[in-house]
Amino acid sequence: MNYLVSLPRRIVTVYVPLAGFLVVLLFPFYWMIVTTFKPNEELLSREGNPFWVKNPTLAHIKKLLFDTAYPDWLWNTVLVSVTATFISLFASVLAAYAIERLRFRSSRYVGMSIFLAYLVPPSILFIPLAAVIYKLELFDSRLALILTYPTFLIPFATWLLMGYFKSIPIELEECALIDGASRLQILVKIILPLAVPGLISAGIFAFTLSWNEFIYALTFVSSSEVKTVPVGVVTELVEGDVYHWGSLMAGALFGSLPVAVLYSFFVEYYVSGLTGAVKE
């Protein structure tokens, strides 16, 4: 019934608030970019217009890439995120299929407990997990992160995939069973091809979750060469009282860009993952 609302009214009730939201939500990113390219004299001056860069410089980026361990952190983050995502997806596919289709007793309760596991926040788990990591002698290794990230990825991915598997008609599987396919063949040849969108959603979501993970990486790793980007930027680039805002912002920018770019390619999948994960 939009035609009933006049244009001036629409501008005031819809466009102005919307523009306000967008400006506030995007400003920190704009600020990151501006700060990245600003020379120090402009950064530390109250004169002139701070919203724009007069003499853009690449010095901060150069410092970040060549004088710090930033490339290492980037590589670690990629490695850990990708491995953890694949392990979690593999385990989740099997778990979700078993819960949804193998009619074993109490499968409903297992499903519920998966959901509850998904609600357990990392900030409760990091202390005991740290104790486990020490005991397994994995402290300060990439493996510590690769093994702990699935604790929050698997419940989430399983929950999401259960929803997808549920939507696949069971008749397809019955046909395959009659044709003599084994459970594994059904899973690989029938279910998985049909669940590709779900797999992509879960994968993208899991990847961004592990890329953004902070508290485990902060707790389980202490040497610079195994740190991930968020932890590295926060702990290593902040030195004493003099803050190198330029390179800090450059680090934040380059740490955010990969997920932002990936996300922009798969927006629909990401949103369906987000909303699917919240659905009861």
Partner: protein, 284 residues
Amino acid sequence: MLPAAALLLLFLTYPLGLGTYLGFTDAKIGRAGQWVGLENFEFLAGDAVTQLALFNTLFYTLVASVIKFVLGLWLALLLNKHIPFKAAMRAVVLLPFIVPTALSAIAFWWIYDSQFSIISWTLVKLGIIHEYIDFLGQPWHARFSVIAANIWRGVPFVAITLLAGLQTISPSYYEAASLDGASPWQQFRYVTLPLLTPIIAVVMTFSVLMTFTDFQLIYVITRGGPLNSTHLMATLSFQRAISGGSLGEGAAIATAMVPFLLAVILLSYFGLQRRAWQQGGADK
């Protein structure tokens, strides 16, 4: 099934139990602890910093969640209208939620800088204030600053998930309502809100859980300071357990969060059940 079960048992259920157990011991890093019963909890209950952290956590969660809900619902309603570039806008809105929180928190840290804050600069130039605001130096300023950062991060999540809920409401309800002469406010109050309640409950449960256990924003922006005025339970337990080395004490703080979380989950779960029953759903 097996790989998931093994990983979850080893790295989720076991630590959860271990965490609770550690809360009752005096374990230190690298040394297994003795069972000390309720000693940790007794100490923490009388500890001024812990009391302050509990207050901060409740305050932070309450204020941030209410504002996130109001702004998120508003944004969702705006995005649900016919507007140009709808898909692009929806994509852009989610950006704060998907980039690493620790990194956007650094941006906020810089925005809140006491000498070069862009907010202060703008306000001074506009003539609204005359001195730069010390955002992170004063307890209450710092509290509201981190709450603002939390809201910035959380609104997109609330908005996008509520938007998904809004899109499932059939337009014919609105047609019927407007034929009956309902004003836009009445349409919102008697059509949108009741139909949206289940998803609101779920989204807000998630939002409250995430806010209550927040760690990254505080750790990066203030590290709990000034004078512990922004310490949350999660940051305090990190400080005591990892930086301070008293695993047992930290674990006790973390364990103390569990009852609150359970209360929130149960509240929303039973709220939903009751609603379903009122609307003629079967007893479960």
